[in-house]
């Protein structure tokens, strides 16, 4: 499980100061799917980055299980992320010079694991891109790039998957397929999913929904929204 304990994240000083997170305390249970919603600029991506150790809070603490992330140095955080976490970035962050197949196998390579070509091909097939393995990101549409990013985040079978608007570039039907994939990961494999979305249909797949506004948790809904 993940726990936020009075976390703030502040940028700049004086007049230009921006409080992306403003005293967030929040438990995110393991083995369940939590959705995070809120207006543009309300701190959703910042929350996800702090939860995954990609960004350090200005004050407060983030716990992954019993571990306080502040106790880890950069190298330990990177190792922890490679072993236990998966991340789908809002802007995909694919490597332009690598093919779709190479992008998907990158987390395995970085973690020093064996790369099973069959497994990588299956991951691409699961997101509907079996025939695009050899294409680079620039040769793929926006939604196809997003699906490569999703396959890359799932390839290491992470305990916790963080996904920042993972269906933002997808049509309704493709989005449903991806959301069904995540639902199976939670229900039959016991994974934890933390998903930022502004799409109520996507949020309806989650077990609970947290609402942010101006960097604060303003509401929480449990049980299916649908």
């Amino acid at each position: 499980a993940i726990r936020f304990d009075d976390v703030s994240r502040v940028y700049g000083r004086g007049r230009k100061q921006v409080r992306a997170l403003d005293g967030v305390s929040l438990p995110i249970p393991a083995g369940r799917w939590t959705a995070i919603m809120g207006p543009s600029g309300s701190g959703k991506s910042t929350l996800l980055h702090c939860a995954a150790g990609l960004d350090r809070p200005t004050s407060g603490r983030v716990f992954l299980g019993d571990d306080d992330l502040a106790a880890f140095n950069e190298t330990q955080l990177t190792k922890l992320r490679r072993k236990r976490l998966g991340f789908v970035f809002q802007s995909f962050n694919l490597i332009g010079s690598l093919t779709a197949e190479q992008n998907v196998s990158l987390p395995l390579r970085l973690d020093g694991r064996h790369i099973d070509r069959e497994e990588v091909r299956d991951a691409l097939a699961t997101v509907g891109l079996a025939d695009r393995a050899k294409h680079r990101p620039a040769q793929l549409s926006g939604g196809q790039q997003q699906r490569v990013a999703i396959a890359r985040a799932l390839i290491t079978r992470p305990e916790v998957l963080f996904a920042d608007e993972p269906t933002g570039a997808l049509d309704l039907r493709t989005a449903r397929e991806i959301l069904g994939l995540l639902r199976t990961a939670v229900d039959s494999l016991g994974r934890t999913v933390v998903m930022v979305t502004h799409d109520p249909a996507a949020a309806s797949y989650a077990d609970s929904v947290v609402f942010l506004a101006d960097g604060r948790v303003v509401d929480q809904l449990d049980g299916a929204l649908a």
Copy 2:
């Protein structure tokens, strides 16, 4: 008005060949709002790029008014775009080293026009970012970056606005504000809008909706969808 006359756009050869557009013939009327929907990878962005002269079709012709875009060289196409067209890219394409304000005034600068600071500030205020004029794209959230891209495309008061999923990174309320802005541009200023979207709520703002699948026009709906 814009007209597609049996336009195809093909990438690669042999086994790796991809037909992004496959014989598209389509009138897009002036002074109205046309939405384009379709599955991920169906050719929506490619259609928009060909319509705006950012990409050349493999076969067939694209007309802007009475002009066949094939008759223009690169320099003439660039001039035409700067004077008459606005484009909101699916991946925003903001310049990372420029502030939000500088990004918005860039099209004016490129077209050799006078830059009125007040007008640029107003454009940012219209999209809810008056207080972020001095921030660079990396300091803005995904939705904020998208709104800067929208303000940039509107600043030159273009005859035709092409927008590739302009509300893809926005929450419902912010999206409605932006869509209302475009509706006003069409209704009271007589502009033409061509918008790619996979969001039925966004498509309901349009006057008609064209559906693509595998690079072909498969359906068209006229009148409000709502």
